[in-house]
Symmetry: C2
Amino acid sequence: MMLKYRRIPEETIRRLPIYLRGLLFSSQMGYKKVSSGELSEFVGISSCQIRKDLSYFGEFGKRGVGYDIEKLSREIRKILKLDVVRKAAIVGAGNLGSAVLTYPGFKIYNFDITAAFDADPRKIGKKIRDITVEDVRNIAKLKKRKIDLGIIAVPSADAQKTADELVKAGVKAILNFSPCYITAPKRIKVVTIDIAMDLARLPYYMPVS
Amino acid sequence: MMLKYRRIPEETIRRLPIYLRGLLFSSQMGYKKVSSGELSEFVGISSCQIRKDLSYFGEFGKRGVGYDIEKLSREIRKILKLDVVRKAAIVGAGNLGSAVLTYPGFKIYNFDITAAFDADPRKIGKKIRDITVEDVRNIAKLKKRKIDLGIIAVPSADAQKTADELVKAGVKAILNFSPCYITAPKRIKVVTIDIAMDLARLPYYMPVS
DNA sequence: CTTTGTGAAGTCCTTCACAGCC
DNA sequence: GGCTGTGAAGGACTTCACAAAG
């Protein structure tokens, strides 16, 4: 395995989780191995794209055979650093925040939500799952608790302020559920999830009656 | 306005809703006009990207001045066909389905959810919002009701089957909340929303302690 | 002087096509 | 024969840089 240095496209990283899901699906179908062609069918991405993407990180397949599902899954998890447990804190304990707190996806990817904050005095002290909601003014104290990920589930108007506080508290990445653009230092990865953005472009592709 | 024909990049369409949100924000700040440079600050997309994107559809700005917010918003809504009311139906009336049904974003973009289906006899007949949940076996009857958008909120295992039925019932687009890849004829636009995909790539960008 | 609109240049990403290996 | 891994070619998207307009 030579693996000379090449810049890894952001698009490749975006696709790795899709492959992971395709591999899970394959394994549930009873397969032990898959070829890039078969995986392509399951995930809707061309087989040579799949091979190229994987080639950035090593040689995981056997020519004439394909990929060992178990082994490739493990490799992708390692590439995405999903094998490390990350501590997360959520700000905003309203409907959205509560939904996020109970969403099982976080555990699957090794996120451990260990703190929740809100500005509403009626919510402070309340227990959601096994977490007691704290006063939003105490975010600064997170620094000692070594939180990796900050989750924003507050109204748009407070989103940037919350992001700034999370950055000060030392988070490495931010997951933003508020429908707005957020600025943060370059070293901090910000991902914004906004269903409305996907919704709004659907009609463009729909013929008018 | 010459506007010679050029293929419109998919990426441009993806950004139009973001501009729309930036314009809303500008108008809420009390502005009447914005330059591409100002809008760039609000949405985190370069000013020449913004100008190029808009240039695919016409000349909406005034040189030396910028864009009239009201007018540009209207134009983008028209481009995205957000000015037409679309009828939507949702399949799956569980937690996710109920949440989707009550999500206000649909109304904003002129989607009118007029039907809901579920396979669970205990849910059939129940009322959510102003909609009575129907038996999933009656999806075929949707054809007469001229539904434009089908929303999938069923377990992954049933997603493809549901998609096939929605296609037969004549939908023009599918919004898929199940965490899996779905196939449909090319004329039908499928958008899959899966938070887990965004979650799973976050750790890659986070330095390990 | 400011800001748009846009060809040209540059960058990034995908697909092709095939050598290399099983 | 079948399938991977990859340089080279091709295509798509972004940025540059500036003429044109207010």
